[in-house]
């Protein structure tokens, strides 16, 4: 499937703030088997210098989901979601996500290529607090498989 390379550089409007809940972090940590007390017990997190329970490293995907949807469902870009495969994923943290954060995502399309009949789309999502403090940058590359 070929994707329109003119989308490179396009930035989407900020998402509505995501309220990071203590129970959501606990639920996510439990689901991935992350048993460190800092994910579950606010006191343990405070002992490490955080204001509340700390999210495991891949938790930001929960926060960036709305931002990813903005792009994948952009009718102008025309991605066929049933053909999407996850290619790469990367997180660069300024600090860990903690309960109580109110996070906003701004996504930019960094790369659009077509190779061997498959489309490749790399997006960067900057996650920051509603006050503008950067928290984590998230890169995601998806592959839109061709009809071959």
């Amino acid at each position: 499937m070929s994707l329109d390379p003119s989308f490179v550089g396009r930035t989407y409007p900020p998402t509505a703030p995501y309220q990071v809940g203590r129970e959501k972090i606990r639920e996510f940590a439990t689901a991935v088997g992350a048993t460190d007390p800092a994910h579950h017990d606010p006191e343990a997190a405070r002992a490490l210098g955080h204001p509340d329970v700390v999210a495991p490293p891949t938790f930001p995907v929960v926060v960036t989901m709305a931002a990813s949807r903005q792009i994948v469902e952009d009718p102008a870009l025309g991605v066929d979601y049933s053909r999407v495969v996850h290619g790469d994923q990367r997180f660069a943290y300024t600090r860990p996500v903690v309960a109580g954060d109110e996070l906003v995502c701004v996504s930019t399309i960094e790369e659009v290529t077509t190779r061997g009949g498959h489309g490749f789309l790399t997006t960067r999502t900057d996650v920051s607090t509603v006050d503008g403090e950067p928290v984590v940058a998230v890169w995601s590359k998806i592959v839109v498989r061709g009809e071959a």
Binding site: A31, V32, A34, D36, V61, R90, Y93, P96
Partner: protein
């Protein structure tokens, strides 16, 4: 330096729990009918679930839940999870590549399932001192 290999069992129940916790309800992670219809051998784990298990291993090696500074992977092969009590297993190992001038430790990570690599270019940068 090689770090001790971590082994994680993955069952269908784990995928259901992860789907709920993450909000990723793609049917290929719970419906064999859908998975086989799109050419997969069967239900596969969420790539992000595999990455989360690797994140667990990294935090364990770092000895801290908040030590990861940079973490990236490429998903190269699906993790097929049969509908059995045993499910499957993911093995995660790593070598220390370098300690940077800022005192950060760079890890090169290998994740395998049934003896085959499921990730490539899996790397983490961790803080090993507070």
């Amino acid at each position: 330096m090689e770090l001790p290999t971590q082994t994680y069992r993955v069952t269908r129940a784990d995928l259901v729990r992860y789907a709920g916790a993450s909000g990723d309800f793609n049917r290929i992670h719970w419906s064999d009918r859908t998975a086989t219809a799109v050419g997969l051998p069967g239900v596969i784990a969420h790539g992000m679930f595999t990455m989360a298990l690797v994140g667990r291993a990294v935090a364990g090696w770092a000895g801290a839940p908040d030590a990861v500074v940079d973490f990236g992977v490429r998903f190269t092969r699906p993790v097929v999870v049969p509908d059995t009590d045993e499910g499957t297993e993911i093995e995660v190992s790593a070598v220390v590549k370098e300690v940077t001038e800022e005192g950060l430790t760079r890890l090169d990570i290998t994740a395998t399932c049934q003896g085959e690599k499921v990730l490539s270019q899996a790397r983490a940068l961790i803080r090993t001192t507070r």
